[in-house]
Chain length 242, copies 2
DNA sequence: TTCAGCTCTTGATCCAGGTCAATTCGCGCC
DNA sequence: GGCGCGAATTGACCTGGATCAAGAGCTGAA
């Protein structure tokens, strides 16, 4: 009856479970026939942290759904200065339609699980399915909103506001069930200090000092360099500069 | 025969000439019937420099095509620090589909000529016309690319690189016919020093000092505070930090 | 023409965050 | 356990750009 369910239970690579569960991603937009066709050409893969997914200027031959983990999108100046221009969390879509080569470098910030399909397959379906294009538009608008929020942070916030904003951003993405009322929040940082610095337009040292200050002030605590507990969310929000 | 032409020559507000001429905007995507319907509810208007088009958090009830001039999109922190997060040039589309209120403030940076339609009319057509949604997706992807480029500038470039990058950005948008080979380029700055500072995440004074330096080094000259001549484009590019 | 109200420039000083340089921590490996 | 190595912290110092403060240049109105 439910062919989509059949596709998954039949052992064809997991294509949509992650996306559909959270009402994003590309797959909910397809009918059963399209889904089967796509599933046949798709492949689930696991990427180890640090591995490069798409090089800058490289030809992109496939698109992916992020099923788990975090992918960072970076841009680099010729002298090596680097800026993270986007973070993709599950179930985001990864890839730039209508362009053959990428303007950014995509790298696994954590271990990442992906479901990829050949570019040609997606673009064929884009032409057939307005609903798929609609989803892509919605995700792109969301990414644009996030990018613009971040431009305010990069251009106008102080180092301590930047770090507080970053922690809130991660907290919101990692645990979307967390509601405003919660006092304590706990999560693992998906980025190293170097990555955080590249995201915030700061140096490693400044990030470290600001985290130390937040710890000293009792706003957060950190175990093993990664596991963060936010003691009181409101205090962090106050420091993020609203 | 050609109804689209008829619409324009019949004196119905200019809807598409600007867009079609440069293959962007919303109108080329519509068939004749849709175009007539839209033209009836559209209105051409002129906005004086400095006027606010859409307030932050304000309900958006119409979308617009920018026919001439420059619109700046800004975000502001509670203490007044401001960041320009986007510049819309003709024939860009202005408005955020699928959201009732704007997350940014839109303001006319120069005198602006707009063609606006009610939100409801556009959204009705979005459902009918996949081609319209396709155009919107393309524009949104372009804006996302631009935002990400600018994040690198905001996060990692020095003040002098930022100013050089800004001049190149304006030069490219104002005169799209200008080719790489041209040595001299001339244009009017569409932004005040204060706007440039807000765009670059700098202060007015720093922008002014960097422009003075570029003038002293013979890279540019400026008349009446607005009219810029780039003596040698390559030297400006070298300073933009590639 | 003069004046008012701006925008822009220039100078002097200050400080947030960068740079350079040790440690120290965490973790896998022998 | 001890060792090695990359990641993180911490300290001392420096500097690019902010801040504060005059002044100069445009523009428009009377």
């Amino acid at each position: 009856m439910n062919l989509r369910q059949d596709v998954h239970t039949a052992g064809i690579p997991v294509l949509c479970q992650a996306c559909e569960a959270r009402h994003r991603g590309v797959c909910g937009a397809l009918d059963s026939d399209q889904l089967v066709a796509l599933a046949k050409s798709s492949s689930k893969q696991t990427i180890v942290s640090g591995a490069e997914l798409v090089g800058d200027m490289e030809t992109v031959d496939h698109y992916s759904n992020v099923l788990a983990g975090v992918v960072k999108l970076t841009k680099t100046l010729s002298d090596g200065r680097q800026q993270i221009v986007g973070l993709q969390f599950a179930p985001d879509f990864l890839g730039r339609p209508f362009k053959t080569e990428s303007a950014v470098n995509a790298e696994a910030a954590t271990n990442v699980s992906l479901c990829s399909f050949p570019k040609a397959a997606i673009e064929r379906m884009l032409k057939q399915s307005p609903e798929l294009e609609h989803r892509l538009l919605r995700q792109t608008l969301k990414e644009l909103d996030e990018a613009r929020d971040w431009m305010l942070t990069l251009g106008r916030k102080t180092a301590s506001e930047k770090v507080a904003s970053f922690l809130l951003l991660i907290a919101n993405h990692i645990d979307p069930t967390m509601n405003e009322g919660e006092e304590k929040v706990t999560f693992d940082l998906p980025l190293t200090r170097a990555d955080i610095a590249d995201f915030l337009g700061l140096t490693i040292e400044t990030v470290s000092r600001q985290l130390t200050k937040l710890r000293a002030d009792g706003v957060i605590s950190i175990e093993n360099n990664r596991h963060v507990t936010v003691a009181r969310r409101e205090r962090l929000e106050a420091r993020a500069g609203h």
